[in-house]
């Protein structure tokens, strides 16, 4: 490793003194360690400083000089934003001038005569060290693009406000830019940085009118910790207007989440919640502001609990697999053709939890693979039990989530499962939702293709709810389209919906795949679907999802029909 001492830049020091004797005396003490520049009066010193403002490390300044004295130089420096960071050591023959010099901003002083050179050297090097340290801290403290605090410093200061200034009630605000990565990708990094900078300026202007601190936490995330009770709709509106003026041709949309002050809630948690609120309005250009509320808090607590409880739920078999039949309606009477395995969670304290509540949660963080794996194992075991008990196979379909598709162990796992239960690949069907194909479509296609080539039948779930393009559809490795239940719901009353159903059936015919209609609840729906040539239906009309013992009654009914 290279030590930081070895990568220091050479230091440049300006010595301003009208007396050549003094300049020479300092030169002999400092020469060799530093690069030196000289000025004979204050005016000249300022000119040299402006020329070397980037690389000048220090000014050593005599107070009594002709043309412009040292006091005036210090006054000018104090007002000059570009030069005020350069530390000044004052030369004086005079004890009483020291206090005044320090009050005016001098970092230190050296008294004449310069008869102990070590004192001069030590003072100069110590002040340089301090100022370098200050520069490093300042660089780490502030974001280069916006000048706002960086993450660590922001949370440090927010914590201090929270702990030591309890009289201030602070709200946490998180602001993001919609699709910022695309803005960057399309318009270039420089443009993106310009947007961030402009937002930084607006935030600073906002904070100038109230008490608070702000940070660019990362990428396009801005956090603001400000006095409770602002009109955030107006604040966001003001930011949005400013950014639209800045970027009239490329539309930039901001969204904001706010966690209002709540006694005793520490900043990190406040900002987590503000971020949750901010994420909830992602993509909602009409209403880009969300204030965190009790409902969200309850949801968050529930989510956290479910995440914590999942492993125990699997181990203690609180998770159960239910089965919903699919019937072939082109036969008369309709015949049980297969089943879909669906997860249920019977929580010891919370009771039955709807999959609608925990599936999206686990999908969001990858835990869905654990759930899916549990369902696959259970379903495979169940197919085997029925095969042994009834002497034939009732294929069961299971869900394959996006997270599963990207799991490199997927193929091995399902192959092992089929082998262990003495099944054929065609005994299990895999349901992949349409939306799983939206991003990184090629990777998903490849995996699904190889599973299909092994012999699994692939069903596309929720067809029509996502955004498949027709040309993509013809490349997709599918055997069955499962029509989203919202198409079926109104076919008895809506001609449009009925026409859409026919359209989907036409597409399926073109693709040479079967169609399962989901959510069928009435006899009327059944007849309409049968008339237009739908193959299979699933829904409460035949049965809701039921536990295996109950499902066996459906199998036994089927056997009875077969025999009769």
């Amino acid at each position: 490793m290279i030590e930081t001492k070895q990568i220091e830049r050479p230091k440049l020091i300006l010595i301003a003194d009208d007396i050549e004797l003094n300049r020479d005396a300092l030169e002999v003490v400092l020469d060799g360690q530093y690069n030196l520049l000289f000025a004979e009066n204050g005016k000249e010193a300022l000119e040299i400083m402006r020329m070397h403002r980037e690389d000048l490390s220090m000014l050593i300044l005599d107070l009594n000089m002709p043309v412009m004295n040292g006091y005036e130089v210090m006054e000018r420096l104090r007002e000059d934003e570009l030069l005020q960071h350069i530390p000044v050591i004052v030369l004086t023959a005079d004890k009483s001038a020291e206090l005044q010099a320090l009050q005016m901003g001098a970092a230190d002083f050296i008294t004449k005569p310069f008869d102990i050179p070590e004192i001069i050297q030590t003072r100069v090097s110590r002040i340089l060290e301090l100022s370098e340290g200050k520069k490093l801290i300042s660089a780490a403290e502030h974001d280069r693009i916006t000048g706002l605090y960086t993450r660590n410093f922001f949370f440090e200061y927010a914590d201090r406000l929270f702990q030591y200034h309890t009289e201030m009630q602070m709200d946490a605000v998180v602001m993001n830019i919609e699709q910022f990565h695309s803005v960057n990708a399309v318009n270039g990094r420089e443009f993106g940085d310009g947007v961030l900078k402009r937002i930084g300026e607006e935030i600073r202007a906002f904070l100038a009118g109230t008490k608070g601190i702000a940070s660019r936490i990362e990428a396009d995330r801005f956090d603001i910790y400000c006095l409770h009770g602002q009109d955030y709709r107006a604040v966001l509106d003001r930011f949005q207007k400013a950014i639209s003026r800045f970027s009239p041709n490329v539309s930039i949309h901001l969204r904001m989440g706010v966690m209002p002050w709540q006694e005793g809630v520490e900043p990190v948690l406040m900002f987590d919640r503000a971020q949750t609120a901010c994420n909830m309005v992602r993509g909602d250009f009409q209403n880009p502001l969300m204030i965190y509320n009790n409902e969200m808090q309850a949801q968050e607590l529930l989510n956290r609990r479910l995440l914590n409880d999942l492993s125990v739920a699997i181990a203690e078999r609180q998770l159960q697999v239910y089965y919903q039949p699919k019937y072939d309606i082109q036969c008369c009477p309709p015949r049980l053709s297969s089943a879909e395995a669906l997860i249920r969670w019977k929580h010891p304290q919370l009771g039955m939890i709807s999959p609608g509540e925990f599936i999206p949660l686990f999908e969001g963080n990858g835990l869905i693979s654990k759930v899916d794996n549990f369902v696959w194992e259970e379903a495979a075991r169940q197919v085997r039990v029925w095969k042994e008990r009834y002497g034939f196979v009732l294929p069961v379909s299971v869900n394959l989530s996006r997270a599963d598709v990207f799991d490199p162990t997927l193929v091995d796992r399902v192959v092992r499962l089929i082998g262990e239960n003495n099944l054929d690949f065609k005994d299990m069907k895999l349901e992949v939702t349409e939306s799983a194909y939206t991003d990184k479509a090629n990777e998903v296609l490849n995996t699904v293709c190889s599973l299909r080539e092994m012999g699994f039948e692939i069903e596309m779930d929720d067809f029509g709810s996502g955004y498949s393009s027709l040309n993509m559809l013809s490349d997709m490795p599918i055997d069955v389209l499962k029509m989203d239940m919202k198409f079926v719901r109104n076919i008895e009353t809506s001609d449009t919906d009925m026409r859409l159903v026919k359209l989907i059936l036409d597409i399926a015919k073109y693709l040479k795949v079967k169609v399962v209609a989901e959510g069928v609840e009435t006899e009327g729906q059944l007849h309409l679907l049968k008339d237009v040539g739908c193959d299979l239906i699933q829904g409460f009309y035949f049965s809701r999802p039921v536990p295996p013992e109950e499902f066996e009654k459906l199998i036994e009914q089927e056997i009875a029909i077969e025999r009769s």
Partner: protein, 122 residues
């Protein structure tokens, strides 16, 4: 006359000036320049004009120069005058005492100039 002898003759501290300027060459350069510097004349003129501000300014400047040149007698005398006329300080010396000190400075300065001239002439 050597530089060291010159310092002896004018009541200077050769050790101190060498600590400050380190090189004989530099001491030589600045002691020669000292006889052309008008700071002592300024002080004497201020005394004649009885101008307290200028008395302070000039004595203060002279103190700095003499200090760095190791001219300890002149440094000490100018320092006392500077303290006497420093704005805000109460006067402690009588006008007569000041006159005597200025006369002493004048005498020592003249002597120093003569010696420096002799030194320059070799």
């Amino acid at each position: 006359m050597t530089l060291q002898e010159l310092y002896q003759n004018i009541g200077g501290d050769y050790g101190q000036v060498m600590r400050i300027l380190r090189m004989e060459k530099l001491v030589d350069k600045h002691i020669r320049k000292f006889s052309q510097n008008d700071v002592v004349e300024r002080l004497l003129a201020a005394g004649r004009a009885d101008d307290p501000n200028e008395l302070f300014e000039a004595s203060h400047a002279m103190k700095g120069i003499c200090g760095n040149l190791g001219l300890k007698d002149l440094c000490e005398l100018s320092s006392r005058i500077a303290e006497e006329y420093r704005p805000g300080n109460p006067r402690r010396l009588s006008d007569e005492e000041i006159s005597q000190m200025l006369a002493l400075i004048d005498a020592k300065y003249q002597k120093a100039k003569e010696e420096i001239l002799r030194y320059e002439e070799g």
